[in-house]
């Protein structure tokens, strides 16, 4: 197969990346907010999550060419994951704020589910971008989800350390599991890039990132956060905080690079040579007889 002109896409820049960076973190933080501990902590976590999601959506709004038509984004829920993301975000905002105002745990729980759905939509947005080979593998969805979960739990850990509330054991383990899940998803994603013959520039960039992400995004958070569980009381908080920040920054760095630097386009290619009228070919396959519907039969030498 001859391929050429696999250039870097320039349509989505840091503003689009900002939606994935802040939205992914905020969506999963919203999912974890009901577990934050005290009512005050849950409220602050919810507000922080909404602020992050809102910042991401603001980034997108700054990117679009006709910002005053932004509401048209809601017109295609049947097929567009961007529309679905917008709907999910809207519902999540309404539910989360209603949950806070009405002090309703049920609404907060439902909002949490929408937080996960929001991050899932982000993964599907990338997967539906068939023009960018490094975005479209199905393995990108679990990678986006696990990255968001790492970031959301990391923000919660860092915030609890700063508030001197103490990090619950389950949350530390959750962060550890999330970074491990991210490392696993990252390995599967990189294998998918090779399997799908993604542009060499994207694969090379991911390979260069790999040791840094593995060390800074997985090993350091894992050792720091799990170590904090068994460390003396004066060492544990800074260790957990450090690990959480590393997990957070690694996720943000990866998503920024994925959107803005590792997004080479499909390019152009010569395809497999065929013979015979294309509709005769497809209808022959469906009806089991050549030359269907008056179309010329497939010529001798057809290389199907």
């Amino acid at each position: 197969m001859i391929r050429f002109a696999r250039t870097l896409q320039r349509h989505w820049d840091w503003r689009a990346a900002g939606n994935f960076v802040f939205g992914g973190t905020g969506g999963m933080l919203l999912a974890l907010a009901p577990f934050a501990g005290s009512d005050t902590a849950a409220m602050l976590a919810t507000l922080a999550a909404l602020a992050l999601v809102g910042t991401g959506l603001l980034c997108v709004w700054l990117e679009i060419g006709r910002p005053w038509r932004a509401l048209n984004v809601f017109r295609h829920p049947q097929r567009s994951w961007m529309t679905r993301e917008a709907f999910v975000a809207t519902v999540a905002f309404v539910l989360a704020l209603s949950g806070l105002v009405l002090r309703s745990p049920a609404l907060s729980w439902i909002a949490a589910a929408f937080g996960v759905a929001f991050v899932y939509c982000q993964g599907r947005i990338l997967m539906a971008s068939r023009g960018v080979p490094s975005w479209r593998p199905k393995e990108v969805v679990p990678l986006v989800l696990s990255t968001g979960l790492s970031e959301g739990s990391a923000v919660l850990v860092a915030a609890l350390v700063l508030q001197a509330d103490g990090v619950p054991t389950w949350l530390a383990w959750l962060l550890a599991a999330a970074v491990l899940a991210r490392a696993f998803a990252w390995a599967r994603y990189r294998a998918a890039l090779v399997r799908d013959d993604a542009p060499a520039a994207a694969i090379a960039l991911m390979q260069r990132m790999h040791p840094w992400l593995l060390a800074g995004g997985t090993a350091v958070p894992l050792v720091s956060v799990v170590g904090a569980l068994f460390a003396p009381a004066d060492v544990a908080p800074p260790a957990a905080f450090f690990g959480a920040i590393c997990a957070l920054l690694a996720g943000w760095w990866f998503k920024f690079v994925l959107v803005t630097r590792a997004s080479q386009l499909q390019g152009y290619a010569f395809g497999k040579l065929r013979s015979g009228h294309p509709l005769a070919r497809s209808r022959t396959a469906k009806q089991g007889r050549p030359g269907a519907a008056g179309f010329p039969e497939v010529l001798p030498g057809d290389n199907r």
């Binding site: 679009i64 006709r66 038509r69 048209n72 567009s80 971008s129 068939r130 152009y268 290619a269 008056g294």
Partner: protein
């Protein structure tokens, strides 16, 4: 049913870019925007190197990825297979541009002209509605609709055919109804070897390339 398709004979194309120029003139596209362009491709290695010219643009796919992702429904597919953009609805998110595997879509953020200040020709063709939104080849859909209203046949009568097809000096570009077994494009595809670009992506493009060398 009708499905309009383009056939590009790579054995005929000489890379003169007349189609590119005709498209720019007809559609008044700004600098850097080429709804129709011709790639200059070098194949093989010395001493068996060869240049091939490949016209590209929107492939008017049967299953267009741009249509699926468009959040505003600005991108639509007509019953005759032509994929269009409603500039009055498009929000300019460029999701379609990253979803298109053919690099066919453009977005222009502000008016731009070839020599800084606009020429009378550029003034005549300038369309404010195209600023900040996605744009691409539409197979000169206005010419097709206008021609059909006059009883003309797209792909046969120049007044009902895309400008790039009319302008081609080598008769490398052909346009017509692929659902009609007697159309020019149906005959070309029946009598020649051809390929579709990126067929593995399942888009079923309405753009066929005639080629007869199994070098791929």
């Amino acid at each position: 049913m009708t499905r309009y398709a383009m056939v590009a004979d790579l054995r005929r194309c000489v890379g003169c870019q007349t189609c590119t120029a005709a498209c720019k003139l007809t559609n008044s596209t700004p600098p850097g925007v080429q709804w129709r362009k011709v790639l200059d491709v070098e194949m093989g290695e010395y001493p068996n190197a060869e240049r091939v010219f490949v016209p590209v643009g929107c492939q008017h796919c049967s299953d267009p990825p741009c249509l699926d992702v468009c959040p505003s429904t600005a991108t639509r597919k007509r019953d005759d297979g032509i994929v269009t953009i409603d500039y009055d609805i498009c929000i300019g998110c460029a999701y379609c541009a990253v979803a298109c595997p053919y690099q066919a879509r453009y977005k222009v953020e502000k008016p731009a002209f070839a020599y800084g200040k606009s020429t009378p020709q550029e003034d005549a063709g300038f369309d404010e509605a195209r600023i900040g939104v996605a744009q691409k080849c539409n197979f000169c859909v206005d010419r097709i609709d206008d021609g059909k209203a006059k009883g003309l046949t797209p792909g046969v009568d120049p007044d009902a055919s895309p400008a790039c097809v009319n302008s081609c000096i080598a008769n490398a570009l052909s346009f017509g109804d692929i659902e009609d077994p007697d159309s020019n494009v149906s005959q070309l595809l029946a009598e020649n070897q051809w390929f579709q670009m990126h067929e593995e992506l399942g888009t079923d493009p309405g753009f066929y390339y005639l080629w007869d060398k199994e070098k791929l």
